[in-house]
């Protein structure tokens, strides 16, 4: 050692020797281990209540995206009505500039034509109304006028209003998809609002990137391998966003922010049980108008790219020609699955027809003699009648039977064979106005109705679980009735199981005899689900020094617990041995 370093070293030695102030150190606890037969080990537990009031948990969109996908997908926000979205999508397809439309696949091009189909551009060749072309010629008027007169529209009006097509797509195509019918709930499937898709926090976080998976082909009954397959209606989706960069979601909670301390009987280690799940029923103050805040929802939903599909039937299916069976008639199209194109069109046509008031239009020759009439009654039954020798009228049918044939023909323009006209179209950069206030209000209402939906997120944000406790120590809140005050042991329930990084339980809940018992055979239960601080799910046992009881862990091992003297008002000491 060099002299210049020697002096301070000696000085330190000298002074430190004189000082003798003990340095603070921390001793590592002995490693946890299994109980050996006959061994009694003492475990001390502390109950610390860190009651936060109105604590606001705020998440940015990046915070949200950092949550496990399982958590994101489990947090249902609302059933998002697709009506406006479909309207916008169909409108964009309908209004595509010709140059852009030319680049569409033929089937999509034909779909666009269908949306734009008017009496003026409809081709009646090959349909029930083909004969009407000749009849119209005899009276010197364009066939389009005859066709337009039946639904009482102008020749340039849409034969089937786009709004009706949109509604039908919503009701039949979307509504028949299993994912749009039910969403997963904690206690089983929950119906989805008609015309809606369930929107989760995951949708917001990932810009709906799972849309194609969720609304692509899917069995109607996932539990039945022979179940019919719904072909789905979204083939690809990218960049669908209704959140801005400034998105914030904040929830105000009042709860004990600390985990409960319990014992893992496997190695008698002290474990921490996340306390959020068990407080979910009491942690929100719904009387506080700001108990949940969602900011940064965009005024417009932006769709960078969306590919929708509609399958057609492989056959040309004629419209019906009989009134019976009422009220739809006898077209086989009514028997098709609700997602097939022909079925969608005939339903659109039926709804269009329903808006037509009964009437008759008479067409006269130049001599003023009545040539033919076209009548539609209150059921939509449409009949052309000739009064002179000007040809045969088309056979009567419902107006939708006429339209569905016109549409089918139109869909196969360009030489597409039957079965090759599956409609698939991709739209880009669609902007759809969003009623953010309504969405927020709905989200709020939904959470108020079932706050447990937020539990997984709150639990994740406050992920304090460590180890795998079989039971934990609890003291009722000071506000609980006096007769309930005391020290309790709670046997864990499924919600107490620690979650892994993907928010999945790290172990199954495999306790065969949850609770605390008076005898080693576990036949006389001492615990109950007595309500304490709103909790009615945990098996609870009030304990006092000297009490003894038995319990079984998830591996089937049984233990005896004797309550020792209390080291403090909020501490207990347990002597544990194999039962």
């Amino acid at each position: 050692m060099r002299p210049r370093r020697l002096a301070p070293a000696l000085l330190t030695l000298l002074l430190a020797g004189a000082a003798c102030v003990e340095e603070v150190t921390v001793t590592e606890p002995p490693p946890a281990s299994q109980l050996t037969p006959g061994e009694v080990r003492t475990v001390e537990l502390r109950f610390l209540r860190f009651d936060v009031d109105g604590f606001e948990e705020e998440m940015t969109i990046d915070d949200v995206r950092a949550l496990p996908q399982r958590t994101l997908d489990s947090l249902w926000l609302l059933d998002f009505g697709l009506g406006d979205t479909l309207d916008a999508v169909l409108a964009q397809l309908r209004d595509l500039p010709p140059a852009a439309a030319d680049e569409l696949p033929q089937a999509a091009k034909n779909m666009r034509n269908l949306l734009n189909m008017t009496p003026d551009n409809a081709s009646l060749v090959g349909t029930k109304l083909e004969e009407a072309i000749g009849l119209a010629g005899t009276v010197g008027i364009p066939p389009a006028k005859v066709l337009a007169a039946i639904p009482k529209i102008e020749v340039t009006d849409n034969l089937v209003p786009p709004a009706i097509i949109s509604d039908v797509l919503l009701d039949l195509l979307v509504g028949s998809h299993p994912t749009a019918q039910f969403r997963e709930g904690p206690d089983g499937p929950i119906p989805v609002a008609p015309g809606s898709i369930p929107m989760t926090l995951g949708d917001l976080a990932t810009n709906f990137e799972s849309l194609a998976d969720r609304f692509g082909p899917a069995p109607l009954d996932p539990n039945d391998p022979k179940s019919p397959i719904h072909p789905g209606f979204i083939k690809a989706a990218r960049g669908i966003s209704i959140v801005e960069d400034e998105f914030r979601m904040a929830v105000r909670v009042s709860l004990n922010a600390l985990p409960f301390k319990g014992v893992d009987l496997g190695d008698l280690s002290v474990a921490s049980v996340n306390s959020v799940a068990s407080q979910v029923d009491t942690m929100f103050d719904f009387d506080d108008p700001d108990w949940i805040r969602v900011e940064g929802l965009a005024e417009q939903m932006v769709i960078e790219e969306l590919t929708m599909t509609v399958r057609e039937n492989s056959l040309f299916l004629a419209g019906g020609d009989a009134k019976e069976p009422a009220p739809t008639g006898n077209s086989t199209i009514w028997d098709l699955p609700p997602w097939e194109f022909e079925r969608l069109i005939i339903e659109s046509a039926r709804r269009t027809t329903a808006a037509i008031t009964p009437h008759c239009d008479e067409y006269k020759l130049a001599s003023n003699a009545l040539a033919f009439s076209a009548c539609i009654d209150e059921t939509g039954w449409t009949e052309l009648t000739t009064f002179a020798d000007i040809g045969n009228p088309p056979s009567p049918s419902y107006f939708w039977d006429i339209l569905v044939e016109v549409a089918q023909v139109r869909l196969h323009d360009g030489g597409l064979a039957e079965g090759q006209a599956n409609v698939e179209f991709t739209l880009r950069d669609v902007q759809i106005p969003v009623d953010t206030d309504a969405i927020l209000e709905q989200i709020k209402k939904n959470f108020e109705a079932d706050p447990s939906a937020l539990a997984s997120v709150a639990e994740r944000i406050n992920d304090a679980a460590v180890g795998d406790a079989d039971f934990y120590y609890y003291k009722p809140s000071p506000q609980a009735p006096a007769e309930l005050q005391g020290d309790y042991l709670y046997f864990v329930t499924a919600v107490d199981i620690r979650k892994d990084a993907d928010a999945a339980p790290v172990r199954p809940y495999s306790y065969k005899s949850p609770g605390f018992f008076a005898d080693p055979a576990l036949t006389t239960k001492l615990s109950s689900t007595l309500e304490i601080d709103g909790d009615t799910t945990h098996e609870k046992l009030k304990i006092s020094p000297g009490d003894a009881f038995y319990l079984e862990d998830d591996a089937g091992a049984r233990y005896k617990v004797v309550v020792g003297d209390k080291p403090g008002p909020s501490r207990i000491r347990l002597d544990i041995s194999r039962g």
């Binding site: 430190a16 610390l48 009031d53 403090g568 909020s570």
Partner: protein
């Protein structure tokens, strides 16, 4: 909390840093209660002419006609007692309510009134070395000294009711001084000295995070946003909670500083000597290592998701800064006759300069990025000391040519007001008494023996701020020392 959560909401890191200034209270040892009871010999003083004038008044060196060496050693023994009197309301230590009024069900009914008395009986060696030599006879004398003007040694029970004030402390300030004195004439001399001040400190206590403002602020600010009473003004209801009481130690802390003293000596007559000495303040900056036991799940585990997660043991560098105050001393001596002499002094010590202690802690383990806390934190702790006086009078009797006997009476006033007194400076108005003797063995050699006793009038405090230091303080210190004085 609180720390930002996020700054997340809890800020125990700041609290941790704030713990250290409290350790610095050991520096209060200089303030009064544990002032080194003896510097030089019992025959030294601001108007007394020996080599120990290096400390007392360098101007007195000027009248030394020969070289002189004083070497001494001794022991300090103390008996310091404290009986805490809980006068506030406390919650049970294993609960955690942080805003008063606390729920009546968690009020600790046992934490009331007089607690078991704690005491410490420190024993510490003392020593000093002084040297003076007239380099120009009757004109210029040079001197040097190594001595400890301030010292403290406390060792209270770790789990005693004083543990939040101090558990153990050892503070030492040692000066190595070089002096020069100029004899202007027989009536007037001046002198000055320059000192290197070496400080050493080791301390331990329980740090109560409830008293740390940053902890309360972190808890109160977003995102935790919990109104609380934590901070320097925390009421007793939220203090001394088990989870927030963290053991902390400061070890191997050294301070290096420079100061000076100066004085004049006036001899209006051959029998009367007057002296005026000024001791400049000394900035003490102790650099050492701190360690704090954060090994509670509350800090290491339970709030990790909120960005609060410490290692079980946080260690790092700590710097404590405080000032040894200025003092002015006026002394007078009168030789009544060949056998009798009386002398004494009056010191006025400017402890009111000491308002706060400052501490800076640095450790990568302090950093809590989620809370916006870096690895270096500085905080202050208010003390609000008062200026003090120190008066001593001595009577010296020479029964024979070879023997000199002396007796001393004195008084020191207390620096700490009732509001801030605690066991880190068991302070009070102190009475001093001493006896001394000198046996001149030869013209060159003398042996000196001294016994010095100090004690405070038992001090009962009932108006300590936030009930931190209420109770009864007792202090008694005895020092015995022997010195060898060699002339050459």
């Amino acid at each position: 909390m609180p720390v930002r959560p996020r700054q997340r909401h809890l800020v125990p890191t700041l609290a941790l840093a704030a713990a250290l200034p409290a350790l610095a209270l050991g520096g209060q040892a200089h303030a009064s209660g544990l002032d080194a009871p003896m510097i030089g010999t019992g025959q030294s003083g601001p108007v007394n002419r020996d080599a120990a004038a290096v400390y007392w008044n360098p101007a007195s060196l000027a009248y030394l006609r020969k070289g002189e060496l004083i070497m001494g050693a001794g022991l300090i023994m103390g008996d310091i007692r404290y009986q805490r009197d809980y006068r506030g309301t406390y919650q049970t230590p294993d609960t955690f309510q942080f805003k008063s009024p606390i729920d009546p069900s968690v009020i600790d009914s046992t934490k009331v009134g007089q607690q078991e008395q704690v005491k410490t009986n420190p024993i510490a060696p003392i020593g000093g070395l002084f040297f003076a030599y007239p380099v120009i006879r009757n004109r210029l004398v040079l001197g040097a000294g190594a001595y400890a003007p301030a010292a403290a040694a406390l060792k209270f029970p770790k789990a005693g009711p004083q543990a939040w004030q101090v558990q153990e402390a050892f503070i030492l300030a040692g000066n190595i001084t070089g002096s020069a004195a100029l004899r202007v004439n027989d009536y007037f001399s001046v002198g000055a000295g320059l000192s290197y001040v070496l400080g050493f400190a080791e301390l331990s206590k329980l740090q109560d995070f409830a008293s740390v403002g940053e902890f309360g602020t972190g808890l109160a600010n977003p995102p935790i946003g919990q109104a609380n009473d934590f901070g320097p003004n925390a009421p007793s209801e939220v203090r001394e909670l088990e989870v927030l009481s963290r053991p902390i130690s400061l070890k191997r802390a050294f301070s290096h500083g420079v100061t000076f003293n100066a004085g004049v000596n006036v001899n209006p007559t051959k029998k009367l000597q007057l002296g005026l000495a000024y001791q400049h303040s000394s900035n003490m900056e102790f650099k050492g290592r701190f360690a704090i036991d954060m090994n509670d799940p509350f800090f290491t585990q339970d709030l990790a998701a909120q960005g609060v997660q410490f290692k079980p043991l946080v260690t790092g560098d700590a710097v404590l800064r405080f000032k040894l105050p200025k003092r002015i001393t006026l002394g007078a001596g009168y030789d009544i006759n060949d056998r009798w002499r009386v002398d004494g002094f009056f010191s006025y010590i400017l402890y009111s300069e000491v308002k706060t202690f400052e501490v800076q802690t640095t450790s990568p383990d302090l950093a809590q990025p989620a809370l916006g806390i870096g690895d270096t934190i500085s905080v202050n702790l208010a003390r609000n000391w008062r200026n003090t006086v120190w008066i001593e009078g001595n009577a010296r009797f020479r029964p024979t040519d070879r023997l000199l006997l002396s007796a001393t009476l004195g008084y020191q006033s207390s620096a700490s007001p009732n509001s801030t007194v605690d066991t880190t400076s068991p302070d009070g108005n102190r009475l001093i008494g001493a006896l001394g003797g000198v046996l001149r063995v030869s013209d060159r050699l003398a042996l000196l023996a001294d016994a010095r006793l100090q004690g405070i009038i038992p001090r009962t405090v009932t108006d300590s701020d936030y009930d931190l230091g209420n109770g009864t303080y007792k202090l008694f210190i005895a020092a015995i020392a022997g010195h060898l004085k060699i002339g050459f």
